[in-house]
Symmetry: C2
Subunit: 584 residues, 2 copies
């Protein structure tokens, strides 16, 4: 089990989720404190909301890549001009935070500022965040959304971050973890550094759990600030916020906004290379690595917050140089987990959604209960209707022209369709020389384990058995196997062979004749209207198709064929089929 | 899964036991009707309560042997002179019915009669039965307990079986399945056969679920009675009650009691052999087999109730000849299940009690929840204190002299104790030539799978590692394996190696040094005071030690090492140790 997984085994407390005793949600501040106690290093990442829907799709792709390195959390800034609380607008701060948490599976902090809006509006913002499952806020006063340079008192609103912290605590108790901003050289508008420290103390006293600092350019700036905070009695974690210098213009812009003074030696170093982006980035990487090493050397820091500016190259390079980028790709479970606290106990999923983990999490987000192995009753009315299918970032990321090139501008025969599937499964180019990298039922890359059976899959797809999901049978593979491994060390992984496919009426007739000769094969057959569920499976009982045996543990069976979930998947498949067969 | 298992998979209804969705209790009448619909043959067995405690111990041994043939149910007659409702008296009707249900694991009917007792007393009797988990009653008027030959009206009581049925229904609704007696030739005291049929109809109309007939000697007697019952509108199942003639005296006695007329051809056949018990029994077997074949030939009968007179030879022989004795020794689970409805959902047990399944069921009967795999929280206060340990038929069945011969009249050294264990494990005789067939921690025969590791066990026991429980590691044995198989057909059984033993302080010190080199070995070590639980196991999480993989099913993991249950087992072991080390 990766040490950085956000879902942790229960230690002593009684669990909320009664059914699953192994797992519970542990809040962010608890996890930060745990790291501090253990002296284990960690990092977190800040992003700002994108301007366009395409930008959002790309940014989510970037989140996915960042998640591989195992940040402790990510945060999204509040963009007052971008309708930040709008949950219908894909590019809003709230929507992006929801996507980060629920689709990318990483613990998320949403910034929220109170400048120039009413407490009723703030309450709405908080409700929206809560409804998405967000449990962490960074409370700011913020700048006025009208673009005016200086802040003015707003009647009927919350005028200081400390008021905001108090308001959140009053309205939500301990539901949210609250972070506040610290200014190592004082807030640009503060009357004095000492005054600013007192304001920070007030924010913490109002109920903030931890502090992230504004950017700074020298380790000593942070370390002095830290000493000063401790001196006036601020005891909570204070996480250094670091901006890797990535480009001359962006540095100028940030410095202007934050009214920070850039040390002369940095100006001197950058000026000669200001037109060479790569050189600046390399300088930034070197400078940041060195500064972070200084911070670590103090013995007072073990977590770093990165202002990524939505870019990945520099930050990932820095993390790799520091040895903080997690190279352990062990999976906690065979499928992609979410960080949403309400799903902390989820430990089992139907195999049908294997190729679309994000769609599954989204579409089942209002289910009371998940398809399950032996606990709970899957015939109980817990599986509500699936939520509306449309969600922009679940749609294919490829433009229609690209898809047409992959799938064929013109299909002359059944065989042309078969070839699309066969090319996808074998990662081969089609007759026009275009590589088929996706099908409508699988937007992700082929999973590594599919390679194990790729030859067989290619052969049956070429003959009209159009597979959209599969897994090879696996008997006692080590739990750290790069293709099929997951779970705790020194365990063994097992899988039953599984295949999900479209095929012709004639093939179904043949199968119906043959299948009774293979009593150990379980099957569901439905037609294109979702009728005639022909099966030899129990009406309610799920079938385990993936399980793991670990030292000192129970048997964990995280993937099942669940007859109830199948009925929903059936509808889903038909809906997609209809969508994808609409004339262009 | 044996077809005759009393716990059946859920079909469509919502289950009471929320945690375990596969299993539920199905009541007796439902199961009888299911057999009738399916045309599947079955049998049931009647016993009377013993007079002495030794008799009770022997009778329970007999129940165990009968259970192997898979009767649908057993029943215990009401013995008014034997303090039948007394739950403290091992030989009472109620106690024996409780033992049959809870220790022998067979669905049980308790007879109960209302003659000459008050409704308050009857209510007490019913409460006692209910508290033991009994769900089936055979409601009788019964004979007066004062020994008087004829029945007299009892003021303030229930004077007819029909009143009794009504009373039970009024007080308990559908909680109990109710059976009533039918008299194929009329009740001895009835005014006419027709009157008696009307009384029977009244009992059924009052709420009885099914009828068992009094004994008869010719198939035609029963078949006429069945037709007459149907003619007056009795539609419930009517089960023929059959007495295999086993001895001349007992036949005479029964005939006198039931005032039945024995057909002349039987008298003629028996008279010449009346002093030859074996000949009589053989005659009885032949006669009964032939009569039952006639009943089956009618197409109207598929279940037979046997009046066993507490004897096994004749009844088992008859069942074998009829092909009704179940030869399929497939186990539903690797441990002995109980038929108590409240434990229908029990599908997991801690391994510690493996050698004492009866003691486990008894001692955990007031637990809300059982040690469990992944569902439920074993740290919840659901495991109440174990019930008082004493229960007469859990005590050793061997007299003390026999035990002394096995275990040694005099122990000269530690090594003498080691040898007792070593002899037991290898089924060998001790130095005095006496075979060691039991130890205080295991009153049953060595389980077949122990033979797989008997050589190893013998070797370590001879060197002071005194094993009291073990299982070999098993990897993918077929589920019908005669030694380790259980569960559904075509499955595979897995086990982790397990060993439970006493050993010296010195060995423990050596183990503590060695064990860290074997991280895949989990252990608990306690001293003789139950202190110092030295372990590398999780505080709460159970470890699966037995599991099965079956086609079209989830993984079933019925045996665990549960840390919470271990704490109770620890107490148990120490208590036994103290009991067994008391000076004689």
């Amino acid at each position: 089990m990766p040490a950085d997984g956000q879902i942790v085994p229960v230690e002593t407390e009684k669990v909320d989720c009664e059914r699953t005793k192994g797992l519970r949600y542990r809040c962010l501040i608890e996890r930060i404190n745990k790291r501090i106690q253990a002296g284990r290093r960690w990092f977190s990442l800040e992003f700002f909301p994108p301007r366009t829907v395409n930008g959002a799709v790309n940014l989510i792709g970037r989140f996915d890549r960042f998640v591989e390195g195992k940040p402790l959390f990510c945060d999204i800034t509040w963009h007052p001009a971008g309708d930040p609380a709008n949950t219908e607008k894909p590019t809003s701060s709230t929507c992006m935070a929801g996507a980060m948490l629920n689709y990318c599976g990483i613990e998320t902090i949403l910034h929220i500022s109170c400048a120039n809006i009413s407490t009723a509006q703030i309450k709405d913002c908080l409700e929206n965040a809560k409804n998405l499952g967000i449990r962490n806020l960074l409370a700011l006063r913020g700048d006025p959304s009208d673009g005016s340079e200086t802040w003015t008192f707003f009647e009927g609103g919350l005028n200081y971050a400390a008021d905001m912290v108090r308001f959140i605590r009053k309205e939500y108790g301990d539901y949210f973890n609250i972070c506040v901003a610290g200014y190592p050289t004082g807030h640009p508008e503060c009357t004095s550094y000492a005054d600013d420290l007192r304001h920070l103390k007030e924010k913490v006293d109002a109920g903030a759990d931890f502090i992230i600092t504004q950017l700074f350019f020298k380790a000593e700036t942070y370390l002095k600030f830290l000493r000063d905070c401790r001196d006036i009695g601020i005891t909570c974690p204070i996480i250094p916020g670091i901006l890797p210098i990535q480009a001359y213009q962006s540095l100028r812009h940030i410095v202007k906004l934050s009214r920070l003074e850039v040390p002369q030696e940095i100006i001197d170093a950058i000026n000669p290379i200001k037109d060479n982006d790569e050189a600046i980035r390399n300088f930034g990487i070197d400078h940041t690595v060195s500064m972070i090493n200084d911070l670590f050397a103090s013995g007072l820091v073990n977590g770093i917050h990165f202002y990524t500016l939505n870019r990945e190259v520099a930050t990932i390079e820095i993390l790799k140089r520091l040895g903080m980028w997690c190279e352990d790709h062990t999976r906690r479970l065979p499928w992609k987990t979410t960080a949403n606290h309400s799903r902390a106990c989820e430990e089992i999923r139907p195999i049908f959604w294997r190729c679309r983990p994000k769609s599954y999490v989204h579409r089942t987000s209002n289910w009371d209960e998940f398809p399950n192995g032996r606990w709970g009753n899957s015939s109980a009315p817990a599986f509500r209707d699936l939520k509306d299918y449309y969600l922009f970032y679940l749609k294919s990321k490829s433009p229609k022209e690209d898809l047409l090139k992959m799938w064929g501008e013109e299909l002359m025969s059944e065989r042309d369709v078969w070839n699309v599937f066969a090319c996808y499964i074998s990662s081969m180019a089609n007759s026009k020389g275009v590589k088929v990298t996706k099908i409508p039922w699988d937007d992700e890359e082929l999973s590594p384990e599919t390679q194990i059976i790729a030859t067989n899959l290619h052969s049956i797809n070429s003959r009209g058995v159009l597979t959209i999901n599969s897994q090879p049978n696996i008997s006692a593979a080590p739990s750290n196997d790069p293709k099929v491994g997951w779970g705790y060390p020194d365990g063994y992984i097992f899988q039953k062979a599984y295949l999900e496919f479209f095929t012709s009426k004639e093939n179904v007739q043949a199968l119906k004749k043959l299948l009774p000769e293979y009593p150990l094969v379980n099957y569901h057959i439905i037609n294109h209207n979702g009728e005639a569920d022909y099966t030899n499976c129990d009406q309610n009982e799920p079938i385990a198709v993936t399980w793991g045996v670990f030292p000192g543990k129970e048997i964990i069976q995280p993937t099942v064929v669940d007859p109830i979930a199948f009925k929903f998947w059936k509808i889903d498949i038909i809906k997609q089929k209809i969508e994808h067969t609409q004339p262009p």
